[in-house]
């Protein structure tokens, strides 16, 4: 059984007690301790900056040309915090409760409670850094609603919240670079973890410009490398987002937890053709005001504006009157799929539903007219005013939609469909964010810990920054306090030499295959297998077939992939080949995990396990555990279980009706 090192005591007191009693490293010793941070998104940048401020010697790595480009930057809608500024009944407990329930009772109580506790500090810290959050006329911070909650606790900066938070963390990071506390290695990719005497002591990184391999020592290695949604090929992730760092860690012994828990986001721009390289998210905040519908008649080919009100099926409002269009993501996605599979989909592909702003435009227009004292405003005037209000709230999202689709969302309803967005699974970590490999940590989306089987909107930014700003500075010190007696290890140590050699050999093997098929073509095929069999719904036969297909694909990849260019130069195709090779192996484990979990929960929907009205049917008796997988050989994994103990919340069937 895995030891998650959850402190004893009441849930409310655990983190306070932990902080009060954890071991510390004195400033003189911190100066001597190198720490490696891989990834510079919200988790990585905030961790690197905070550890630099504390005095550690930090080395930070990112594959992009600048740390400011990490994919956290694309988060649109907002960040949750239990501030209760709106006086609408929010509290630390309620944020904790919503997150556990939203995760369908598959997250660890102690971690989630800590997340809720520090959520308020994050907002304070970001404001102090100069993050320009949206404000009310009185000068105070503004909030909006998000899915899965009934309070307004989401802080935002128009549709660019992730960008503004990341720029805040990036600036804090660059300040530490200027002060000499952090050394930044951009355009570097981690290709292995180096272990000495069972502990993580460094990494092998590849300089992506020169192709050279580098050995870096660190007393600890923090992986802040995000999620693995690109295993599906088409996802809302950036093109470069990959699983390689966490997968290499997995191959070095770190357990990979709940890999089948992936999030399909309900509101994305639908796929338009085979050429498509990525999918674009339309922020969940659009569900605040937009109404989702399909025609009541099957195969209705009329234009949306020609379909009268009474012939529209607002299926979320119909099925879930309490939460309506703001049900959690997994529920909204499945409901869209259900309608499309039943033949009610819209658009050329019939794989889309409408997200309609007409009602919101009219409602806002009326409010605006009333504000201006125009009691006899015509419908046209009201619509003009309403469009202005909607533009201020969601303008950048509407612009994005119209650029991609060529349609005007102010005039016609948007067409949306679910797409892969986030991965709840990740490296298994204990309460201190340490993996089962001592010295190796995982933060943010790279770990599995806080979102269970489904993440609520605006909680990813919260978790990334919580881990980096407010958790790791304490928990890392608690472990490094014992390391001060150990001298730094020179990278001439045989373990570093051996790891470097192994990486070099793998690259040479890949390059020398010299086959006929491009890396991209393999990635596309992998994505199709995973999307079809381990996507929004899964079943036993499909998963078994997928496992066989992926094993065959792996064999084909390693005998027929073609990588142009040289090893010792800037070679994006080679970078991609390394990543796709890892995605293929992860894809198999996802299916193994999905096959093992004979229940439905959150984003994991097994067709065999559903309630009569099509909701996810959990099996708490047999599956209330974290599935942490240890690699034991090619195509072989050993399952380790962490039992989830609910001491405060009593799990029940999630109800958003």
């Amino acid at each position: 059984m895995l030891n998650s090192k959850i402190p004893a005591g009441n849930l409310d007191d655990k983190w306070v007690d932990y902080k009060g009693h954890c071991k510390l490293v004195n400033p003189a010793n911190k100066r001597k301790m190198e720490v490696i941070v891989v990834g510079t998104g919200l988790a990585g940048a905030s961790a690197a900056a905070s550890l630099g401020e504390l005095g550690y010697k930090v080395k930070a790595f990112c594959f992009q040309d600048s740390p400011r480009r990490a994919h956290s930057i694309a988060a649109q809608g907002g960040i949750n915090a239990a501030k209760n500024y709106q006086n609408d009944g929010d509290s630390v407990f309620r944020l904790f409760y919503d997150t556990i329930k939203g995760g369908d009772y598959r997250a660890r109580e102690a971690n989630v409670h800590r997340l809720a506790e520090v959520s308020g500090n994050i907002i304070d810290q970001c404001v102090a850094q100069g993050v320009p959050f949206a404000r009310e006329y009185g000068g105070l911070l503004s909030n909006r609603s998000f899915g899965g909650t009934q309070v307004q606790r989401t802080f935002y900066a128009a549709g660019q919240t992730g960008q503004q938070l990341l720029i805040g963390a990036y600036q804090a990071l660059e300040r530490q670079v200027a002060l000499g506390n952090v050394t930044m290695y951009a355009r570097h990719e981690m290709l292995d973890v180096v272990k000495i005497d069972g502990k993580a002591k460094g990494i092998i990184a590849r300089n992506l410009i020169t192709g050279e391999l580098e050995k870096h020592f660190g007393y600890a290695v923090l992986l802040c490398t995000g999620g693995y949604g690109n295993v599906f090929y088409l996802s809302t992730n950036a093109m470069g987002s990959n699983v390689s760092a966490t997968w290499k860690a997995h191959k070095q012994g770190a357990y990979f937890a709940n890999p089948c828990f992936t999030q399909i986001h309900p509101t994305c721009i639908p796929v338009s053709g085979d050429h498509q390289s990525k999918l674009t998210l339309m922020s969940e905040s659009l569900r605040n005001d937009g109404r989702i519908w399909v025609p009541k008649a099957k195969g209705d080919t009329r234009k949306p504006n020609e379909i009268p009100e009474e012939e529209r099926d607002y299926y979320l409002e119909r099925r879930y009157p309490a939460f309506g269009n703001l049900v959690p993501r997994d529920v909204a996605s499945r409901a869209a799929k259900e309608r499309c599979d039943a033949g009610y989909g819209v658009g050329t592909s019939k794989q889309a539903v409408y997200l309609d702003y007409a009602a919101a435009i009219e409602r806002y227009g009326k409010i605006e007219a009333s504000k201006q004292g125009l009691h006899n405003a015509s419908k046209e005037e009201i619509i003009v005013m309403g469009k202005e209000v909607v533009k201020e709230k969601y303008g950048n999202l509407f612009d994005m939609y119209s650029k991609i689709t060529g349609e005007n969302p102010y005039e016609v309803p948007m067409r949306i469909y679910p797409a892969v967005h986030y991965t709840m699974g990740g490296l298994w970590v204990d309460y201190e964010l340490q993996t089962n490999v001592p010295g190796l940590y995982a933060l943010g989306e790279a770990n599995f810990s806080d979102h269970g089987a489904n993440r609520l909107g605006a909680s990813a930014l919260m978790q990334g920054l919580a881990d980096g700003y407010f958790v790791i500075p304490y928990t890392l010190g608690n472990n490094l306090a014992d390391e001060i007696y150990n001298a730094p290890i020179p990278t001439s140590h045989p373990a570093f030499e051996a790891a470097e050699k192994e990486v070099a050999e793998r690259i040479a093997t890949l390059k020398n295959i010299n086959g006929k098929q491009s890396v991209e073509s393999f990635h596309k095929r992998l994505g199709k297998i995973i999307w079809n069999e381990c996507g929004m719904s899964r079943n036993e036969a499909g998963l078994k077939k997928a496992i066989a297909d992926i094993q065959a694909l792996k064999k084909e990849f390693w005998s027929d992939v073609r990588i142009p260019g040289e090893i010792n130069e800037y070679n994006p195709e080679l970078d991609k080949a390394n990543r796709v090779a890892d995605f293929i192996e992860l894809g198999e484990l996802m299916c193994v995990d999905a096959l093992n979990r004979n229940e439905s929960c959150g984003g994991h929907f097994r067709e065999e396990y559903q309630t009569p009205d099509g909701e996810a049917l959990r099996d708490d008796e047999n599956y209330m555990y974290v599935a942490a997988w240890e690699t034991t050989g090619e195509h072989q994994w050993q399952l380790h279980k962490e039992e989830l103990k609910y001491e405060v919340i009593k799990p029940s069937q999630r109800n958003y009706k």
Binding site: A128, P132, L140, A158, R175, G273, S277
Partner: protein
């Protein structure tokens, strides 16, 4: 919906590495759907090059939704191509028509050395931020977020400047390769917030000094930067930067 398909000719800048000399190379790309993005069109070309044993064209890109700032490309003489307020990754092929010849170059500036083909090194921007583009506040020092009300218009104006994605289109558009729009966006973001006040003078002086050191040219207020900016960062920020710089210089201790 019937999609239009087109055949295009491309003239693309190819350069092996920073030290090699480069040249334009011509390519034909056929059967391109007008629903594709510009980068997807390049993906199609690259797939073809890979299968015929040629090296694919290197270009920077990541999020492909117009926010990370990684994509670049000087397309037919315009940074990020013909559409206003747009990044290359959001440019779609319906902007072009069958038979067009499209010229694709990297960002051109001494301060952005070429890495390979269309990829350049924009590390100079990070170093400008390191010179002062931040508020010096350590984690844990913050007071309650609502303890200091900020006038909504100031917060909105600050946000409008903070939207800069650091892509470098402003530098590429400028005949002098000036980085003034980029720098002014950061100065404006922080100068309009009370949090930025304590370091207001040192920030602008140090950032301008670093910009000069990086080899960017001078600003002559032509406005090409504003026209090319995918986030429509206003040239008014440059006026504010000049004011901040003058004020800081005159009142320097």
């Amino acid at each position: 919906m019937a999609h239009n398909h087109m055949n295009l000719k491309l003239k693309v800048w190819r350069q092996k590495n920073a030290n090699a000399s480069g040249a334009f190379v011509k390519y034909d790309v056929n059967d391109i759907s007008d629903e594709m993005s510009f980068l997807e069109m390049l993906d199609v070309l690259n797939e073809k090059l890979i299968t015929t044993g040629e090296e694919p064209i290197a270009f920077d890109h990541d999020c492909r939704e117009g926010i990370c700032g990684m994509c670049s490309l000087y397309i037919d003489g315009k940074p990020h191509g013909p559409w206003q307020a747009n990044t290359t990754c959001q440019l779609h092929m319906r902007a072009f028509k069958d038979g067009d010849t499209i010229t694709i170059e990297p960002w051109r500036s001494n301060a952005f050395p070429i890495v390979k083909d269309l990829t350049v090194d924009r590390g100079a921007f990070d170093r400008i931020i390191q010179a002062g583009g931040y508020v010096s506040v350590n984690t844990g020092n913050a007071v309650d977020g609502n303890s200091l009300p900020i006038n909504k218009d100031d917060a909105d104006a600050s946000f409008a400047a903070a939207m800069c994605i650091g892509c470098g289109a402003c530098v590429a558009a400028c005949k002098n390769s000036s980085a003034m729009l980029f720098l002014s966006a950061k100065v404006s973001h922080l100068a309009q917030l009370p949090q930025g006040e304590p370091e207001r003078k040192s920030r602008v002086l140090n950032m301008v000094a670093q910009m000069d050191k990086e080899g960017f040219g001078s600003c002559t207020n032509t406005g090409a930067c504003e026209a090319a900016c995918p986030k429509e960062i206003s040239i008014a920020n440059i006026a504010r930067l000049n004011k901040e710089y003058l004020r800081a210089g005159l009142t320097q201790e």
